[in-house]
C-alpha cells in the first residue's frame, strides 16, 4: 500500500482492509511507537471538523510525527482565491503525507491525482470518509470477534448518511444481513438496495425497530436532522421513534453493541451510556489506532 492514497473505501481490497484492521490491533496493544519520527504530516481542513482532526493529530503525535496545517480555510491563501490545485501542489512539497477534509465532493480524488505524496481523505462533502468506515469495521470485528454473517441494524438518516452508505458497502464483503430503520422520508436510496440485490444479500426495511431489536448484532445509530424534512410536521411525528433508550435494550443479545459516528445530539439517550452495550466512545478511541494503521501503511512503514 506504500505511496497509495486512501480516497474511497473501494480503493482497498478486502485483503487490504483486513491488513489495516490487523495493524490497528497492533497499535491498540502498543499505541506509542515512534514510527513517524522525522516525518511531517499536513492536516488540511478546508472545513472545520474538530473530532476527525483531533483524532488524526492524536494518531500522528503518538507516532512521533510533526504536524503542519490548518483547521479552518478562512485564515489561509484559500480565502484569497487560491485553487485546490495550487494548494495541493504547494503543500505536497512540505510534507510526507496530506490528510485533507474539503466540502467539495471529489476534491480528495482530484488532490490524489496531482499530489506527489499520499492523500488521506478525511471527508469530501457528502461523498466519502474512509477512515471512519475502517474504524467502524475495526469496532465491529473487535466486539463481535468476526466480520462474517452479522446482522447489522442501520438506524436514522439512511438517505443522506455518508457513513452508513460506506459501512454498508464495506460490510457487504462479509455476508451481512441488514435491517434499515428510518422514517419514510429518509429511507435507504434505491441505488444501494440494487447493489445489495446484485450482491445477493438480505435486507429488511422498517420504520420502527422495537419488535426486531433482539436480532441485532450491531446497532449503528445516526442522527435524524430536522432540516432534512420538507414538512416539519413529519419531523415532529418521527423524532422520538429514532431515539434509543436503555429500556429498549432488555431483550437484545448480550454480545450486541451500539455504534455511533458521533457527535451525538439526542438520538441515543444518556441513560444508555452506562450500559455495557454502549460502545460509541470506545469506537472513537479505536479511530486513533485505525488512523495510526492507515498512516503507517500508506507511508510504507508497516
Amino acid at each position: 500500500m506504500k505511496n497509495r492514497s486512501l480516497v474511497s473505501i473501494d480503493d482497498f481490497s478486502t485483503e487490504e482492509i483486513l491488513k489495516i484492521l490487523h495493524l490497528t490491533a497492533e497499535f491498540e496493544k502498543e499505541p506509542i511507537q515512534k514510527l513517524l519520527e522525522g516525518k511531517v504530516i499536513a492536516t488540511l481542513f478546508f472545513e472545520p471538523s474538530t473530532r476527525t482532526r483531533l483524532s488524526f493529530e492524536s494518531a500522528i503525535s503518538r507516532l512521533g510525527g510533526k504536524i503542519v496545517g490548518f483547521s479552518d480555510a478562512s485564515s489561509t491563501s484559500v480565502s484569497k482565491g487560491e485553487t485546490l490545485n495550487d494548494t495541493i501542489r504547494t503543500v505536497s512539497n512540505y510534507c510526507d503525507l496530506i490528510v485533507m477534509r474539503h466540502p467539495i465532493e471529489g476534491s480528495a480524488r482530484f488532490a490524489s491525482e496531482i499530489s506527489s505524496v499520499p492523500i488521506i481523505n478525511a471527508g469530501d462533502g457528502a461523498n466519502q470518509h474512509p477512515s471512519q468506515t475502517l474504524l467502524d469495521l475495526y469496532s465491529i470485528k473487535k466486539t463481535q470477534g468476526r466480520l462474517e454473517d452479522l446482522n447489522i441494524f442501520l438506524v436514522g438518516d439512511l438517505k443522506y448518511g455518508r457513513t452508513v452508505h460506506s459501512l454498508m458497502m464495506a460490510m457487504s464483503h462479509w455476508n451481512a444481513t441488514f435491517n434499515f430503520i428510518s422514517p419514510e422520508e429518509l429511507k435507504m436510496p434505491e441505488e444501494y438496495k440494487i447493489y445489495l440485490d446484485n450482491a445477493g444479500l438480505k435486507y429488511y426495511e422498517h420504520t420502527d425497530f422495537t419488535d426486531i431489536i433482539s436480532k441485532a448484532d450491531i446497532i449503528y445509530m445516526t442522527r435524524v436532522q430536522r432540516e432534512r424534512f420538507s414538512d416539519p410536521i413529519e419531523y415532529e411525528k418521527v423524532k422520538n421513534v429514532y431515539v434509543l433508550r436503555n429500556s429498549m435494550l432488555k431483550n437484545t443479545k448480550a454480545s450486541m453493541r451500539i455504534l455511533h459516528p458521533l457527535p451525538r445530539v439526542n438520538e441515543i439517550h444518556i441513560d444508555v451510556d452506562a450500559n455495557p452495550k454502549a460502545y460509541y466512545f470506545e469506537q472513537a478511541l479505536n479511530g486513533v489506532y485505525t488512523r495510526q494503521a492507515i498512516l503507517c501503511s500508506l507511508l510504507g512503514i508497516k
Partner: protein
C-alpha cells in the same frame, strides 16, 4: 431582374459526394455542432460539408456530415455516442461505400459530459471530467471524482 427565372428549375439541397473519407449520417439535427466539436472538425483543414434539418423518419430532423480524407478509429468515433447514439458511418473509398458502422457507447468517457452534481470538484476547478459508463441503454455515467451518477435526462455536453 425578373423573378421566376432564377426559380425556373426547382432547387434541391445537394451535398456533394466525396471520393475518400467518412460520412456520418443520422445525427440529431440539434446535436450537429456538438458532434463537430467532439470530433474536433472545427480545428482541421480537410474539406467538410454538412447538411442539417434534413427530414428523417427516425429522428424528425437529422444532420449529415461528410468529411473528406478522414477515417476514424472506433475509440474516437464512439465519443459521439452520447449525443448521436443512432449515428451511422459510411466509409467511402473511391466514391464507393466500402463499410458501414454504428457507434457504441464506450465504457469510459473523458471530457465531453458535465457532472450533474453541483457540488462536484469538476464544477469548481479546471478538472477534465471522467466517467465510468454504468448503463449504456439509458445512459448513466458515474463520476470518477464525486462518485455521483449523471443520467441521460440530466446529461449536458461541455
Amino acid at each position: 431582374m425578373k423573378e421566376g427565372i432564377i426559380m425556373k428549375e426547382p432547387k434541391q439541397l445537394s451535398v456533394s459526394a466525396i471520393q475518400n473519407g467518412t460520412v456520418i449520417d443520422h445525427v440529431p439535427a440539434n446535436n450537429l455542432f456538438k458532434v463537430i466539436q467532439i470530433l474536433g472538425l472545427d480545428r482541421i483543414d480537410n474539406q467538410i460539408t454538412f447538411g442539417t434539418n434534413l427530414e428523417s423518419k427516425k429522428l424528425g430532423r437529422k444532420a449529415i456530415i461528410k468529411i473528406s480524407g478522414i477515417y476514424f478509429e472506433d475509440e474516437d468515433i464512439n465519443r459521439i455516442a452520447l449525443v448521436a447514439p443512432a449515428a451511422k458511418l459510411n466509409i467511402i473509398k473511391d466514391y464507393e461505400v466500402v463499410e458501414k458502422r454504428v457507434v457504441e457507447v464506450p465504457d469510459h468517457i473523458t471530457g465531453i459530459a458535465k457532472c450533474m452534481n453541483p457540488k462536484c470538484i469538476t464544477n469548481f476547478e479546471a478538472v477534465t471530467t471522467k466517467f465510468k459508463v454504468v448503463s449504456k441503454k439509458n445512459v448513466a455515467l458515474k463520476c470518477h471524482y464525486c462518485e455521483k451518477i449523471t443520467t441521460q435526462e440530466n446529461l449536458q455536453i461541455i
